[in-house]
């Protein structure tokens, strides 16, 4: 399963990422960063569905999302 990391201090809570995630993983969280924005977060139940497509990072105007795509594990069939 791929994953994303959110750079909380960069997020401005614009929610544009929520409009492009094909798995609807991204939701507004409750954490408010030092700039006063409600930071985006991943829905706990859905986040393992992350495809690592990177759409969220592409649409993010603030470079707040880092995307890690899982490569097929070694030794798997």
């Amino acid at each position: 399963m791929s994953r994303i990391e959110i750079r909380e201090e960069r997020c401005k809570g614009c929610l544009l990422c929520t409009s492009v995630c094909p798995e609807n993983i991204l939701v507004q969280g409750n954490v408010i960063n030092s700039k006063g924005y409600k930071v985006i977060t991943c829905d706990e139940e859905k986040k393992e569905n992350c495809r690592g497509c990177g759409f969220c990072a592409e649409i993010c105007p603030d470079g707040a999302i880092v995307v890690f795509k899982t490569i097929k594990p070694k030794g798997s069939k």
């Binding site: 614009c14 999302i65 995307v67 899982t70």
Partner: protein, 254 residues
């Protein structure tokens, strides 16, 4: 035991400074600045680029895109870019302007720059409003759109129709590439990347003037949430400002 390997699949371009920006939440400038920086990196232009900054919310472009930059007076970026390119044709010269800068006060400069076929590239951010000054009418404001100087809605009889810059500039012989794109969704964002690359390429291949008009959201001055503003780009703006490639001498060359 198998390992789980992962790789980072998205990173910020090298020529984009990794700093927080002053742009409002949901402002498309952040996306577009990054795409411009990405194109600079893809074409390996950072060391030879000279950027002309303009007046508007993008006035701080030099704080975000790490290339030599000169600030132009409001509207004059295409003339400044002309001076730079005539002085140093070996450099890659581009400007980044908003709708007031390019289509109002700078209308003469952009038309003549394009008409001369200057080997420069202009990125035009169209958000149908004057952002930096607080939401007044722009030449691209839609009919009926309320702004702080058209409180009853833009009217044809008083203000005339919005200007369609991509089409107008495409009609000039000197223009080698002119397109209108958007960054409201991933599909359009990918097209924007391609359009930017072509607009840069026509300069590198000495074909003529390169122009990309990018429809953008301004949540603050539209008084909409970022998501609503993003929707407006598609639902309202694209009706009047159709996306498309209006001139492409690179294609013609093939």
């Amino acid at each position: 035991m198998s390992e789980i390997l992962e790789k980072q699949v998205f990173s910020l371009p090298k020529s984009l400074k990794d700093v927080p920006t002053h742009f409002c939440p949901g402002c498309h400038h952040g996306i577009i600045h990054r795409l411009v920086a990405q194109t600079i990196d893809d074409l390996k232009l950072q060391d030879i680029s000279i950027c002309v900054g303009s007046v508007g919310c993008s006035v701080f472009i030099y704080d975000y895109i790490d290339v030599d930059t000169v600030e132009a007076p409001h509207g004059r970026a295409p003339a400044v870019a002309t001076g730079i390119k005539r002085a140093r044709p070996e450099n890659f010269v581009f400007a980044y302007q908003g709708d007031g800068d390019l289509a109002a006060i700078g209308f003469s400069e952009i038309v003549h720059c394009a008409n001369r076929g200057e080997r420069v590239t202009i990125v035009f951010v169209n958000n149908t409003v004057y952002g930096m000054t607080g939401g007044q009418m722009a030449p691209t404001t839609l009919l009926g759109q309320k702004t702080t100087t058209t409180p009853y809605g833009r009217s044809e009889s008083n203000e005339g129709y919005p200007l369609k810059m991509a089409e107008m500039l495409a009609s000039l012989e000197g223009t080698a590439f002119s397109a209108r794109v958007a960054v409201n969704n991933i599909k359009n964002l990918m097209k924007t990347k391609k359009a930017l690359k072509k607009a840069f390429m026509v300069q590198l291949e000495d074909l003529g003037f390169g122009f990309v008009e990018i429809l953008s959201a301004c949540p603050t001055n539209w008084h909409l949430t970022p998501l609503e503003a993003n929707m407006r780009v598609e639902k309202e703006m694209m009706k009047y400002f159709p996306l498309g490639i209006y001139k492409d001498k690179l294609e013609d060359k093939k």
